[in-house]
């Protein structure tokens, strides 16, 4: 998404769906289970707007049960289905031509590709009947505004990045972007997922999507008040500073080095804080890596079962961490709104809050002063400098974030404003997010971008009918000024309301600001100004933009072609382990990847090694159960939640089960192509068809048939344990993000 129009986040918000959406397309998301409160808003939209709910999913989910149209898709064929819709849309001229002409680059190539996706071919690939494809294409083309909602069912694929591009392309074709009730609403399932993404808890970027290039590091060195050379010396060699690290999906290869890795040394220690290892794919490899490391440290409020799956006897430390009630700070909701969260109690017993643990860590390793100095910085007379000798947690951390992360406009997120939002919750309209009374003129949680301390936040991204100072904007100018001789700026007809500049304009830099805004800077202003809007501690660029009604990041076209990617336009590619050997030849996956996140990854060599479907004919679909989240470690320690699903199971169609002599409630083995197996209870269920089974990923504590209860430290065994389904999640990773292929794979069913 960020590669289509600038930012990779939910564009609208839940209240907006209730108030304005006339159609809601949910694809690769089961919000009724993964986000019940979010799903309420879709149900409310049905009541308030008679909104049509379309659910596209390989299984008939609880969300599908509430749908007006349910499309049962084969796993990993989302791109084919969307092209099938686009085929019908273009054929009938239902696309929004004006929108495409003014605000989109490259739709012609999409139109060409869509020509191949006749309803018949789409049906052949996706398994959705031809009549239903035509019917739903009609509904989505003619019911406006429509919002598109997705979650991990879209991203967790070897073609996940392309998946996340084809849906924005559909919304662009229909002209549903920048509109109330439209947009692409990617639902974050857990608390603060948006916030941790914004903070760059990833191996390939500094916080705020700044990347790892030298310019970004230098900008950060300034913001943190540390010497760039000191930062660089922390790395083994300077070049590693600009290299992506290992990803969460394949870090174990940094330890095991079975696939070719690119690193100065094997990984020798791992620190796990806030992530459930057993909810990661290739769990058997994670275990091998945990066994082999010199040191494993786990810092969690509940026991992380990484400590249970490993056989190591020594050098494993478990640090008790406080929960969200034992610390204070901000969290970012799925719609880019920030919320202040108060501390309810001090950390219990010997537990420490997350930040206390990190401070102790920094002290031990001798960089505490540099670590906390960013919180003592301030901007005086347009220049960033250290302004005090101590800091207040978490206020000064929030101020540091606001000062540095200009890229997504966190500049206006001061602790004072966010606290006021928390204290005056009741003064905000839940559907429009608009404040009343003393909160008038602000949107709840100041959804980013919130360009400065007077900005109200931006509830709907890319809305040009709203002035910049009230949250309006065009698409971001992120991909240069022209491509193949075509301007990437919005047409002269796309003027953000109230803007001094008619039509499109580039992102504002020190170099172009005078020309674009038609102003004259003083020498003093020039001296203080940073190189561009996202790296300007002086705040002068944002200030001048505000005066001109201009959005600092420009006003450009969205693009359907990402010329830097292996697939410049999204293409359907069969899963690595596909049930359709005939289609594997026609829609092959990528060539093997030499290096991404420091490791090689197999694609075509694995896919075409043999017809996997002969030995492993059944598709695996991953699901969540409503009472457990993530690795389930927290919820399985609650007796009432554990009672709902006391043991691991798989939903299996009676026809498939009985073919193998498996009665309802019998145990069965599920075998994966890479040689692992899990033993789970069979639940006869009609939500799956006989060609696929469906299983929750929220269990651990049983390992390939062996109960691991004795491996839990005293009194930490949860009420419910079970096989981690990710033991059999097939090999496969996205070509860009390296997220695991959780949602398309094969297995073999056997009676236990």
């Amino acid at each position: 998404m960020a590669n289509t129009w600038g930012y990779g986040a939910m564009t609208n918000h839940f209240g907006d769906i209730v108030k304005h959406s006339k159609a809601i397309m949910v694809i690769g998301a089961n919000s009724a289970v993964a986000n019940p409160i979010g799903f309420k808003h879709m149900l409310q939209a049905k009541d308030s707007n008679r909104a049509k709910l379309i659910v596209i999913d390989p299984i008939f989910t609880r969300s599908a049960a509430k749908a007006d149209h349910y499309l049962r898709i084969r796993t990993g064929t989302d791109i084919a289905l969307i092209y099938g819709f686009l085929h019908i849309i273009f054929k009938n001229g239902w696309e929004d031509r004006e929108f495409l002409k003014d605000r989109v680059y490259g739709m012609d190539l999409i139109k060409e590709e869509a020509k191949k996706w006749t309803p018949e071919e789409t049906s052949n690939v996706t398994g959705v009947p031809v009549e239903q494809i035509i019917q739903v294409a009609n509904v989505i083309a003619k019911t406006k505004p429509m919002t598109v909602i997705w979650a991990l069912g879209i991203t967790q694929h070897s073609i996940g990045t392309s998946n996340t591009r084809i849906l924005p392309i559909l919304q662009l074709a229909l002209g549903n972007m920048g509109k109330k009730g439209g947009g692409t609403n990617i639902i974050r399932g857990h608390d603060n997922v948006q916030g941790s993404t914004d903070m760059g808890n990833l191996a390939d970027t500094l916080s705020g999507y700044y990347g790892l290039a030298e310019g970004a590091w230098k900008y950060y060195a300034q913001g943190w008040g540390v010497d760039f050379n000191w930062l660089q010396k922390r790395f083994f060699e300077p070049k590693w500073m600009n290299e992506k690290g290992f990803s969460l999906a394949k870090w174990y290869q940094g330890v095991l080095q079975e696939e070719k890795t690119y690193s100065s040394s094997p990984i020798r220690a791992v620190w796990i804080q806030g992530t459930g290892i057993t909810s990661m794919a290739q769990t058997h490899k994670m275990k091998e890596a945990l066994d082999k490391l010199d040191l494993v440290v786990i810092a969690e409020p509940f026991l992380n079962e990484a400590a249970v799956i490993t056989d190591r006897k020594d050098d494993l430390y478990i640090l008790p961490t406080g929960t969200q009630f034992e610390t204070e700070g901000t969290v970012t909701a799925t719609n880019r709104s920030s919320q202040w969260r108060s501390k309810i109690i001090e950390p219990l017993y010997e537990a420490k809050s997350d930040e206390q643990i990190m401070f102790e860590f920094a002290k031990k390793f001798g960089f505490y002063d540099e670590y906390v100095r960013g919180m003592m910085m301030g901007i005086e007379d347009g220049v960033i400098k250290q302004v005090k000798k101590d800091f207040v947690w978490p206020d000064d951390a929030v101020r540091e974030i606001a000062r540095i992360i200009q890229s997504i406009g966190l500049t206006g997120w001061t602790p004072e404003r966010l606290r006021a939002h928390q204290e005056n919750w009741h003064l905000f309209d839940p559907l429009t997010l608009e404040g009343r009374g003393k909160m008038k003129g602000e949107y709840y949680g100041l959804p980013w971008p919130c360009w400065d301390e007077k900005h109200p936040g931006s509830p709907v991204l890319y809305d040009i009918d709203t002035p910049a100072s009230e949250g309006g904007m065009g698409f971001r100018n992120r991909f240069g000024l022209e491509h193949n001789g075509v301007s990437q700026l919005a047409s002269e007809r796309v003027t953000v309301r109230g803007s001094k500049i008619k039509g499109g304009y580039p992102q504002i830099t020190k170099e172009n600001i005078e020309k674009v805004l038609g102003i004259k800077l003083t020498e003093a202003e020039k001296a203080k100004m940073g190189p561009s809007w996202a790296m300007d501690y002086s705040g002068i660029i944002v200030k001048k933009c505000r005066e001109a009604g201009v959005v600092p990041y420009g006003n450009a076209k969205a693009r359907t072609i990402v010329w830097e990617f292996p697939d410049p336009i999204p293409l359907h590619r069969e899963p690595i382990h596909s049930p359709r050997w005939d289609l594997v030849k026609k829609y092959p996956t990528y060539p093997d990847q030499e290096k991404n996140f420091r490791v090689e990854t197999k694609y075509i060599s694995e896919q075409q090694k043999k017809d996997w479907s002969k030995e492993f004919p059944t598709m695996i679909v991953s699901m969540r159960v409503v009472n457990l989240s993530g690795a389930g470690m927290l919820e399985r320690t609650s007796k009432y939640l554990a009672h709902i699903t006391p043991e691991m199971f798989a939903n299996i169609h009676p026809d498939l089960a009985l073919e193998h002599g498996i009665k309802d409630g019998d145990m069965m083995w599920l075998h994966a192509p890479h040689g692992t197996k899990i033993k789970v209870k069979a639940k006869h269920n009609f939500s799956v068809t006989p060609d696929r089974i469906c299983l929750p990923y929220n269990f651990a504590g049983v390992w390939q048939g062996v109960d691991q209860s004795d491996k839990y430290p005293e009194e930490t065994r949860p009420y419910a344990i079970g096989e981690p389904s990710n033991l059999i999640t097939n090999y496969g990773f996205d070509i860009i993000t390296q997220i695991s292929e959780f949602n398309a794979g094969l297995c073999r069913v056997e009676k236990a």
Binding site: A32, V33, P36, I37, F39, K40, L43, K46, D47, S48, R50, F60, R62, S63, A64, A65, K66, Y70, V626, N627, K639, Y640, L641, H643, I644, N651, N685, F686, S687, V688
Partner: protein
């Protein structure tokens, strides 16, 4: 003539998504033993397109409560606002009420020797029992008395989709009628 409020539950099946929030909120609020389900969430025709339906069921606080009529020791009483309660110290655990109840609401502990039943337990609409309001004895036998505190029952307060409605029957039916008018569907 003003009519006294009659308290009713209603679960809007078009809204219920089987998230179990009501059932878990109930168990937590009243600290029930695992296995005593004052409120249950059920899905019928699980996985069958066009037929699957989820709903939340507990004591429906019937106007003409069959449990009350069959009880051999007369432990039931119906409050003026229609909430059906019972006296656990009078109850002999015979199970007649369970046979009479069309909703399977009465719950019995089953951990005694020979499967002997203890006193019946059921949804009180968070209105406690015959003991002194908000006394520790009331809390121990019947759980929280939220109604006495002017609070909505724990289940409906926790409902993630506002499927579970509770309150004066007139108001509940008004809310539901407005919803189905918006949906353009008809009530079953």
């Amino acid at each position: 003539m003003s009519q006294a409020a009659r308290m009713k539950f209603y679960c809007d099946e078009d809204r219920c998504i089987e998230c179990f929030a009501c059932a878990v909120a109930c168990s937590v609020a009243h600290e029930l033993p695992v296995g005593i389900s004052r409120r249950k969430v059920i899905t019928l025709f699980d996985g069958i397109e066009g037929k699957e339906i989820s709903t939340s069921i507990a004591c429906m606080h019937c106007t003409d409560a069959p449990c009350e009529q069959v009880c051999p020791v007369d432990c039931f009483y119906i409050r003026e606002d229609g909430i059906v309660l019972h006296d656990k110290e009078t109850c002999i655990g015979c199970g007649y009420c369970l046979y009479a109840c069309p909703f399977g609401a009465p719950q019995f502990p089953r951990d005694g020797a020979f499967g002997i039943k203890g006193a019946m337990d059921k949804c009180t609409m968070c209105a406690g029992g015959p003991e002194e309001t908000n006394s520790s004895k009331e809390r121990q036998l019947y759980g929280q008395n939220r109604i006495a505190e002017g609070k909505v029952p724990a289940c409906a307060a926790m409902c993630s989709t506002n499927a579970l409605l509770v309150g004066d029957a007139e108001r509940v039916s008004e809310v539901y009628r407005r919803r189905i008018a918006g949906r353009g569907t008809t009530a079953y």
